[in-house]
């Protein structure tokens, strides 16, 4: 049986899918891209628009054919009624949008849980409530956790004051729990800031207190010389108030007064008055924050 004749006939019915290229084109299937470095027929590109467009179309068709050939030979998964080809990883390097995130330091609970090997158990959002025969949320609006806040009867415990309002007591307990949680969150935040800077949180707090102390001393007219000192407060160096001598040089006194009068006459505007000290501090702090 000579089948070759039938095969040839079958082949000739369809247009070929073969693409010949001198240099094989580089394909990055992860991006669905094809980089072809073959020589382009420059004369066709320089010609008029019609030949150019049809030449470009030929080139594109061949490039697309190459890619489609490769794509159809990738491993596939069938999902519903469409066939998906699993793409390989992207090979071309494209820049990120934002810098990679830094690792956050572990909180106190996370460290403890790691040591004791405590796993996080996922809890469901709703809980079945036997009394009401309904599914109620575990927390939040109409939540199960708030049931102890509004019962119709609260027994006075043995050791409590009989005139105390138990409802108020319950509300205050809840408030205290919330505040405790907030304080712990704040503490975690401060500790993470301190560890990121490389200091212990206690040292960080000490430094902040020092800065606040110096500021408060400088705010008083006598630079904090006569303030009540606490035990163990460190001595602050270099915080002095300068007084001009009682008998000044006449020229100097005249120039000082003229300066004041000129300022008043002209009116101080932001452009004319520059506080060099403040400007320098602003520049330094900007440099530090940029680092």
């Amino acid at each position: 049986m000579d089948v070759t004749g039938i095969l040839d006939e079958h082949k000739s019915r369809f247009k070929t899918i073969q693409v010949d290229r001198l240099i094989p084109a580089e394909l990055d299937l992860g991006l669905l891209a094809c980089f072809d470095v073959n020589m382009i027929d420059e004369s066709k590109l320089r010609a008029n628009q019609k030949t150019r467009d049809s030449y470009l179309r030929e080139l594109s068709r061949e490039g697309a054919q190459l890619m489609v050939n490769e794509l159809f030979s990738l491993p596939t998964t069938v999902d519903e009624d469409s066939v998906y080809a699993t793409l390989p990883k992207v090979r071309t390097v494209l820049p990120r949008e934002k810098p990679a995130p830094k690792e956050k330091p572990m909180t106190r609970w996370e460290k403890f849980a790691k040591i004791k090997n405590i796993q996080n158990k996922k809890k469901s959002r709703v809980v079945y409530d036997e009394e009401q025969g309904e599914w109620r949320p575990r927390f939040g609006f109409k939540g199960v956790n708030n049931d102890d806040q509004k019962p119709w009867l609260i027994e006075v415990p043995g050791n409590a004051d009989p005139y105390e309002d138990q409802y108020q007591a319950r509300r205050e307990e809840k408030k205290e729990r919330i505040d405790k949680n907030k304080r712990r969150q704040q503490r975690n935040f401060e500790e993470s800031v301190a560890t990121e800077k490389g200091m212990k949180p206690r040292d960080m707090r000490k430094r902040e207190l020092q800065q606040a102390l110096v500021l408060s001393k400088g705010s008083t007219a006598s630079m904090g010389k006569f303030d009540e000192k606490l035990a163990g407060e460190p001595k602050v160096k270099g915080l002095k108030r300068k007084f001009d001598p009682l008998v000044k040089n006449a020229d100097k006194e005249k120039s000082n007064n003229m300066e004041i009068l000129n300022r008043v006459a002209k009116g101080e505007s932001k452009a004319t008055v520059l506080n060099v000290r403040k400007a320098q501090r602003a520049i330094n702090s900007a440099k530090r924050s940029k680092k």
């Binding site: 094809c34 382009i40 420059e42 467009d53 594109s60 697309a64 054919q65 030979s73 494209l94 990120r96």
Partner: protein, 232 residues
């Protein structure tokens, strides 16, 4: 925006967390802005590029005084406000007719940009073929060895790949390979000017070929641009 905004409710918090730097990033949003003077050609180009880039694209319809090569702050401000890392600015002036600037940002400051002159543009409306669905990933073809050699073209290639990448996906539907974008580097001119870059878009039609792989037939759709690289 040196101060980090604080979230006052859960929705705001989710919004900010979405914009935070992540290990696996969101797909990049592109911003299309008009310069102080524009021409019909450049407006058509911007409109077509925007429709190719949807849904990850934002189109500004008002004109802005923007000159990215002279002053980066306005672009960086837009990028920060809209959380977009790709931008395209279109303007027209006598000195630089039909100017298109494509660029990228990293951490809200400009990473690189390429200025292109649109010499010839055929918008999507003029082609009678059917438009393809929004959000499809295109097949991209870069023809010409100049894309590996010429520094400006290497950058342009990288930016175009970013711009037309679509969503990052590890699977693609074989029926969903709807369009092809071809970029060809033309020859340099006789007097040493840089060559044109031909940008063409086609819809694919997969025909039977008797074997497992289909034959691809193309029909021109989408913008057809002839670009000349000006500045980088």
């Amino acid at each position: 925006m040196l101060l980090k905004p604080k979230a006052k409710n859960a929705r705001a918090k989710r919004f900010l967390v979405n914009r935070d730097p992540k290990i696996v990033e969101n797909s990049k949003t592109a911003l299309f802005v008009r310069g102080s003077t524009t021409s019909q050609v450049i407006l058509d180009t911007l409109k077509d590029l925007y429709s190719l880039r949807k849904p990850d694209a934002i189109n500004f319809t008002k004109k802005n005084e923007i000159h990215p090569f002279d002053d980066e702050t306005s672009i960086e401000f837009f990028a920060r406000k809209n959380d977009s890392s790709l931008f395209a600015v279109g303007m027209h002036s006598k000195k630089r007719p039909h100017n298109l600037i494509l660029g990228r940002t990293f951490n809200y400051s400009i990473l690189d940009m390429v200025e292109l002159g649109v010499e010839h543009c055929t918008p999507m409306q003029q082609f009678k073929s059917q438009a393809c669905a929004i959000g499809m990933k295109p097949l991209m073809i870069f023809n010409g060895e100049a894309f590996n050699q010429n520094e400006a073209l290497v950058r342009l290639k990288s930016i175009l790949l970013d711009l037309f990448r679509g969503e990052a996906a590890d699977k693609v539907s074989l029926k969903g390979l709807e369009y092809v974008i071809t970029v060809t580097a033309g020859p340099a001119g006789a007097n040493g000017e840089t060559g044109l870059v031909f940008f063409r878009t086609y819809t694919t039609a997969l025909k039977k070929s008797g074997t497992r792989q289909p034959r691809v037939e193309l029909e021109e759709m989408g913008p057809s641009l002839d670009l000349r690289v000006r500045r980088v």
